[in-house]
């Protein structure tokens, strides 16, 4: 139902003041569609990250590596080598798959905190590699804008094509959701959760956790790479500070925790809320009435990073299960008295009372 609503959004021109940031209050305007497409893209990546972090319990601080490899390999194949769309896509996924397999196998030699640090270090190394601009492939600091004559015209990033890119982002989210749903509901998915809950017991049962951890890592990384491809289609250019820095990792982590780690729709909701808030806060900070506020108020409020970071801290301390946990708790609270009252009303209870 919701899906259908989102699918037809580009076709209608509703006017929704205040809900969408600033001048974007027409639902199918280019800006709005772009924000929504970014929401869907990050929702997909957050879902993939949730498989590894929420379900398998692996705190990786390196998902940005695969996001960046998705963006850059795709960009380089399209722009530097002028490959057609599908070979470029295939190359991107193969490269990311091999990267994830090799680096994952090394990083998974350690666990817990050390794993987090090692994945962070690998991601940072990749960032340096991109900045280094080897063989003039990545464009270094200045980045690399997509330009490919063979790209189908509906994808060329022009304003009129935002609609098709929006649908691609939505399709990416739907496919990712389906894959994640299938995997987490399968036997493999149950092993993932078992690793999170008690890895030692799995060892005793004769199940080697390593392969499953690697599988979870690779799946999550591939989804991040595919998300990178979608990102490049939406934004049209790759800049290391926006695409490959640790900030991306931390954003995805925050999305998952805000939404509720280990729940599928929680990750999606967290990502959509995060991206939406980020864009909205930026628009508000630019309003003329806002810039006249006194500095001690204006400076903190004009920094989405500060507000989102503070919100995140509050969530971690006071709302441990994230939005999904909150909703779950509220609905069980409502369910609990009804169960009790049903018991009171039942014949058995009345018989005991007598």
């Amino acid at each position: 139902m919701l899906l259908l609503l989102f699918a037809v959004v580009p076709l209608v021109g509703w006017h929704v003041p205040w809900v969408l940031p600033g001048t974007l209050d027409v639902v199918n305007s280019t800006g709005t569609l772009e924000v929504l497409a970014l929401c869907f893209m990050f929702a997909g990546i957050a879902l993939g990250y949730d498989v590894m972090f929420g379900f398998t319990g692996l705190l990786s601080l390196g998902p940005v590596l695969y996001f960046a490899s998705g963006v850059y390999v795709f960009d380089i194949a399209l722009t530097r080598w002028q490959w057609p769309l599908f070979p470029a896509l295939a190359l991107t996924l193969v490269v990311s798959f091999v990267l994830a397999l090799v680096l994952g196998a090394i990083a998974l030699r350690v666990d817990g905190i050390a794993f987090a640090m090692v994945t962070l270090a690998f991601a940072q190394a990749f960032f340096y590699l991109i900045e280094d601009n080897p063989h003039n492939l990545t464009g270094g600091d200045t980045g690399l804008a997509v330009s490919n004559l063979r790209l189908p015209s509906i994808l060329s990033g022009a304003v009129a094509n935002t609609r098709s890119i929006y649908w691609i982002a939505l399709a990416f989210l739907v496919v990712t959701y389906a894959v994640v749903w299938l995997v987490t509901e399968s036997v493999t998915g149950h092993v993932f959760v078992a690793i999170r809950e008690n890895e030692a017991r799995l060892n005793v049962l004769g199940i080697r956790p390593f392969r499953f951890k690697l599988a979870s890592y690779v799946l999550s990384s591939l989804i991040a790479s595919a998300g990178g491809v979608v990102y490049l289609l939406i934004i049209g250019t790759a800049v290391p500070s926006a695409v490959a820095s640790t900030t991306v990792t931390l954003s995805v982590l925050i999305m998952v925790v805000l939404g509720g780690a280990g729940t599928r729709w929680g990750a999606v909701a967290g990502a959509i809320i995060y991206v939406y808030l980020q864009q909205y806060l930026l628009k508000i900070a630019a309003l003329p009435s806002f810039t006249t506020l006194p500095a001690p108020l204006r400076v903190p409020l004009s920094q989405p990073q500060f507000l989102l970071g503070a919100l995140f801290v509050l969530f971690v301390i006071f709302v441990p299960g994230g939005i999904a946990g909150l909703v779950g708790r509220l609905s069980t609270k409502r369910a609990a008295p009804s169960l009790a009252s049903r018991w009171r009303d039942s014949k058995v209870a009345k018989a005991i009372e007598k």
């Binding site: 705190l59 090394i106 990083a107 030699r109 350690v110 905190i113 050390a114 987090a116 640090m117 090692v118 962070l120 270090a121 690998f122 940072q124 190394a125 340096y128 590699l129 900045e131 280094d132 601009n133 080897p134 063989h135 003039n136 640790t246 931390l250 982590l253 925050i254 925790v257 400076v299 903190p300 004009s302 920094q303 989405p304 990073q305 500060f306 507000l307 989102l308 970071g309 503070a310 995140f312 801290v313 971690v316 301390i317 441990p320």
Partner: protein, 301 residues
């Protein structure tokens, strides 16, 4: 030869700063199982505290005096930030290690965001006395005086930390806590106090590291994102040295400093190799993990 000597020397200075940044992280991890992301923030805040003191005090104190006060302010600033973090944000989350990591990440983002809002991405300059900018001639090599300062302070901290951990009551409690936290609290010792203490010590060292890094390697400049980029190398040093080991951190800091400096010198000049120093450090990390997943001096437990 003189180039080799001065590069070696600056490698040791870099190692000294990495040691200051990493040993606190390592202690915090060893005692509390926390990957403290806010450590980069402590470094940045320490450097800003040093800058604020030097800029706002009257210059009649004299440049060397002002700089000494900057160093003190950096240490105190880092310690204060760390103490507040532990009491307000870590303490409510005892027993939830992942949440503790997450809260330090959020804190780092929020306060760095605030600094970015206040200072923009522009750097501020810490005033330093003239002799810190000069160099001393040793044999045929010109060795910068700031490197001497970093090495001297690094060694001083290493020895006082070793003394504190081995000879004082609280130090022994901390070491025992790193060994086996449950046993220490079972003996009726308040581990909570040790947690705060470890955070304060780590924060003080981080503040010092932040100031020294600004003075030695970034031309006296301080920027909001500086600590976070230093933090990643501190993490690498901690993992290579072995989580929870101070001597491991010292050794690994030195090795990482050397590797970064030598590769930068011998390979960094080629085009497309500007970041080779940073990359080779990560490669070193991967090699050490392949060979010894617990790090150089990590405990077996």
């Amino acid at each position: 030869m003189s180039v080799f000597l001065s590069i070696t020397f600056s490698g040791v200075a870099l190692g000294a700063i990495y040691f200051l940044a990493a040993s606190g992280l390592s202690l915090i991890y060893g005692l509390m199982d926390i990957l403290n992301f806010a450590h980069g923030l402590f470094m940045t805040l320490g450097a800003y505290a040093g800058w604020a003191v030097a800029v706002h005090l009257p210059s009649s104190i004299g440049a060397p005096g002002l700089f000494a006060l900057s160093v003190v302010a950096a240490v105190l600033g880092g310690a204060l930030a760390a103490g507040i973090t532990e009491v307000l944000f870590i303490r409510p989350l005892y027993g939830r290690p992942v949440s503790q990591i997450l809260v330090t990440i959020g804190l780092d983002l929020a306060v760095v965001g605030l600094l970015l809002g206040g200072f923009g991405s522009n750097s501020v300059r810490i005033p330093v006395p003239l002799w810190l900018i000069e160099a001393t001639k040793v044999g045929s090599a010109n060795l910068p005086n700031v490197d001497f300062l970093a090495i001297a302070l690094g060694l001083a901290v290493l020895f006082s930390l070793e003394w504190f951990l081995r000879r004082t009551r609280y130090g022994i409690i901390i070491r025992a806590g790193v060994e086996n936290r449950d046993m220490v609290s079972a003996l009726g010792i308040d581990v909570g106090k040790a947690f705060t203490l470890v955070f304060v010590i780590g924060g003080a060292m981080a503040g010092l590291a932040g100031l020294l890094y600004a003075v030695v390697f970034s031309g006296d400049l301080v920027s909001p994102l500086q600590g976070d980029s230093l933090l990643i190398f501190a993490f690498i040093v901690v993992v290579i040295g072995g989580l929870g080991s101070i001597r491991g951190s010292a050794l690994a800091a030195l090795i990482v400093g050397f590797v970064q400096d030598y590769t930068n010198l011998y390979l960094g000049g080629h085009s497309g190799f500007a970041e080779v120093g940073n990359l080779s450090v990560v490669l070193l990390l991967a090699l050490v993990l392949e060979w010894r997943p617990r790090g150089l001096m990590g405990s077996v437990a």
